[in-house]
Amino acid sequence: MSVSIRIPTPLRPHVAGARQVAVEAVDVRAALAALTAQHAGIAPHLFAENGELRAFVNLYLGDDDVRYLKGLDTPLPNGATLSIVPSVAGGLDLDTSHIKFTNEEMRRYSRHLILPDIGVAGQKRLKAARVLLVGTGGLGSPAALYLAAAGVGTIGLIDFDTVDESNLQRQIIHGTSTLGQLKVDSAKARIHDINPFIDVETYNEPLTSEKALDLIREYDIVIDGTDNFQTRYLVNDACVLLGKINVYGSIYRFDGQASVFGAKDGPCYRCLYSEPPPPGLVPSCAEGGVLGVLPGVIGVIQATEAVKIITGAGEPLIGRLLVYDALEMSFRTLKLRKNPDCLICGEHPKITALIDYDEFCGVKPVADTPANVVPEITVTELAARLKAGLGGARLIDVREPNEWDIVRIPGATLMPRATVPDHLDELAQASELFIQCRSGVRSADIVRFLRTVGFSNVKNVKGGVLAWAREVDRSLPTY
């Protein structure tokens, strides 16, 4: 009997690329024997070592599986087509196969294991999960501690800072003993002290548009603990493009927010804030201050949402913005709608790749055009001028009154930034102006402003009061 054997794509390399092989055979067994006689390389793909047809190989005569005919003894009429059809299957190894717990882990996680909504299955999902924390500061610290304790199997940490004394008022993953260390190293050591059964992957670098997709792709969930708008939009956009969940949190003085972005039909950060505020309008924690306990509350909410999403327990904070006011001690939940016109997750997205977020947020380093040049005076030069007597010149401190109370340069006049435009007449009477703030950033803005309104003899005090305390009077405190 002349029979045609149809070869599936995966096995064609073993039959010289042929789609069909013609053989002479009376039944299925003889047909396969003739096939393997012509093409020995195909045999191991069809038969197990014991000679049985492999479980994931199916043979069809017409529309019938030969298993339900007479198996290998099924007779073949002349001109028949015998099709080799691969079984294709797969699945997630969420539980049984590769995730196992030692007895120590079972004891460690026992309070989870007896929880109905988590149990062994949920704990295994936690162990298999990969969570990336962007930032190991105020929000990242409590989030990382609780995710580590909860048994999240792989925690990624990205930050590019070192531990500073001013961090320790709220960044509780770091400590006095790790001052000066890289934040990612300090955090990793603390995480492993809490839970040695999990992996920590560290990236001592800023998150950039160039690297964000490759990095975030390797994780299941991102926890946004960033302290600036550029990175927050970058995290949001990367998560939307990759289809990753972005657990958002942010803090400002006594207020906090949290939500879950990036879910299907759920909004993203751009649906909430399509554009960043003008640079300088919203002070950072370093400029505006922050209640140390506040990021603890918000970071723990972020960790809670991550654990819920991983285990499938409860209702995630999708489409809802949680607003926390520590002074009132109130939690409010605002409904968030997905914006159909959102530039990245809307119906007709305009953003299909990551962009330049410094430019988007208006914080590109200012170009050195003549109009933007900020004349400077160093703190040592200033000290000499003060010692000699300022004469008609004036030193103006544009910080806020509460900063003034911490430390000041003798001879300075307090004039908070927002009040400067009200004092132009007064300032115009000075022969020369030195403008000073904490680090020299805000005062540079004021110098530029004054130059645009006609002041020519105005200089920025380079490095601000921090430089003064470092180089002129080391007895002064810094903040």
């Binding site: 794509t9 096995l11 789609r19 994931f56 069809y60 529309d63 797969g90 699945g91 997630l92 499938g312």
Partner: protein
């Protein structure tokens, strides 16, 4: 390398999202030339996984998929009529990254593409495509090109 048009790519992702929270699957009909493949049509098929003895315990459609061989047979006949071949398969990983699992490896085949799309909370993410080594011991990732339609 596997190339797919935006239209077919969107189609398969919609199918996988519709299947969430279960795994969903389908196959690719197209052209194959050595390691280079071009998808002509992404064919959604039903997830035919059923609890079997041995593999049934602790699993369901949320973490298992299977393509009915009859669907493969039908697609192969259709492809053959059009001068095309089955060049690969796709499936979703609900709330899971697009990397092949050990179970995927056990039931995969060399040569053809295995595209995996993570579907997080019902939303399809970026697909990755894999090819099983001849020795069946591991997958290698292949380049996935989603071609934008020319206007």
């Amino acid at each position: 390398m596997i190339a797919i048009s935006q239209v077919e790519y969107d189609k398969l992702r919609a199918h996988l999202e519709a299947g969430y929270p279960n795994e969903a699957c389908g196959l690719f009909i197209g052209e194959i030339d050595g390691a280079n493949k071009r998808v002509v049509e992404a064919v959604p098929v039903a997830n035919a996984w059923a609890p079997l003895e041995g593999d049934g315990a602790g699993h369901d459609l949320r973490d298992r998929f299977s393509i009915d061989p009859r669907d493969i047979l039908k697609a192969d006949r259709d492809a053959s009529k059009r001068g095309l071949d089955i060049i690969g398969f796709f499936h979703s990983h609900p709330d899971w990254p697009a990397t092949p699992s050990e179970t995927d490896r056990m039931w995969a085949w060399p040569v053809v593409s295995f595209m995996i799309v993570p579907v997080e909370q019902g939303r399809a993410g970026m697909a990755r495509s894999w090819v099983l080594r001849d020795g069946r011991d591991a997958f290698d990732e292949e380049t996935l090109i989603v071609e934008q339609e020319e206007q």
